[in-house]
């Protein structure tokens, strides 16, 4: 794909950063909220640690393996659409050529203006298929190594994130004290994470910090309220 250097860098960092963001934002938030919720219902930290570790195991597997299979099915979807485009280019070139004209017509170009490109593509079936994949179907060629890397990155970030809110419950023996420390430590971690995420994604770092802290805080408050209400 033709990309200016800044765009290439932007997208490469983007995928890895996005996986860390996906894993860590849920890893920081859900175990935090679960532990906070249980603190509203039980006084000993041992059951909270058990639930928290079970949640980290469940969440990291669900997200990591889920991410792996999603990336694999993206790759298979791309491959099957590509076979279809190859067949169409080979067997119905006139219809496909009209579709190229239509792509350009959407940008106000007349059939005459786009004709040279249509003709040039007809002479290069391989490039024509690539063109249709991206410009007609909007599909990017998936990186074959991405599925596994993506899975491990998401799962690892989830586990790393999950141990931050859980650490106070591992260190302290009473739930109220551990909850207080967990809230302070996790809100700071969420805000820091949101700030760094904001600088990576090009959004406002301060707003990123406030947003992730807000999500975590709301989720924890809701979990605490529900657990307290039913216990």
């Amino acid at each position: 794909m033709p990309q200016t250097p800044h765009v290439e860098r932007h997208f490469t960092a983007g995928e890895r950063v996005r996986d860390v963001v996906i894993g860590m934002s849920d890893g920081l938030t859900v175990p935090f909220a679960l532990a906070a919720g249980l603190s509203g219902a039980v006084s000993s930290t041992s059951i909270i640690v058990t639930a928290g570790l079970a949640e980290i195991a469940a969440g990291s597997i669900a997200m990591g393996l889920g991410g792996y299979l999603a990336a694999r099915s993206d790759a298979e979807h791309y491959a099957s659409e590509r076979v279809r485009e190859e067949t169409e280019v080979r067997e119905k070139p006139a219809i496909e050529a009209d579709e190229v004209t239509e792509v350009f017509r959407a940008y106000g170009l007349t059939a005459e203006e786009s004709a040279p490109v249509v003709e040039a593509l007809r002479k290069r079936p391989e490039a024509w298929v690539e063109f249709m994949m991206r410009f007609e179907l909007g599909l990017e060629k998936p990186d074959p190594r991405r599925a596994l890397t993506s899975a491990l990155t998401i799962a690892g970030a989830y586990i790393a994130g999950g141990f931050i809110p859980l650490a106070p419950y591992l260190l302290l023996s009473t739930a109220p004290a551990a909850l207080l420390l967990s809230v302070v430590v996790t809100l700071v971690a969420l805000a820091l994470f949101g700030y760094v995420k904001g600088t990576f994604t090009g959004a406002s770092p301060v707003r990123g910090a406030l947003q992730t802290a807000l999500i975590g805080g709301l989720a924890a408050a809701a979990a605490f309220g529900i657990a307290r209400a039913i216990s």
Copy 2:
């Protein structure tokens, strides 16, 4: 965007289905695995129900609100890149015209073959910006209503999914019996969900069924093993 009818249908269904899939696959999996894990550590179902409901609250808020903010920042990223492209098209048209030539060169087209399209785009700055957004940067125009719909769909699917594995613990009073029923009910639900997901996404329904059941089963087994080991 120019799209043949089947493509348009494919992508419209895709976004809503994807949100339901995202919410429900985690909603079925994580509360299921957490409840199964706690069943390995405690004998009364009341603490499992408390933890399960706290998890559903936390997970649905984290995923729904997270999805909302992600969709909003996608929209803002698109808007800021668009402003940059507009400036470049206005202030450095020669450089931007070269970039269009480069887009086509990646498909084997010579500068002469793409020149008429480049010239045609230069006459239409508005269409030119749209063209660069999609074909140079690979960015699709986000639907402004999508952020809220996406958030509510993901959160609702998570809650609906989460109550399936939790229902046996609400009905039965001992953890081992509830666990057994929860495993049966949830694996059936995961397989059905994976099957339906497979038909929607165009993958093999049977493989979809096996995959989602596998993820749920592995997550639950890991959570159970960890909870049993530390309790």
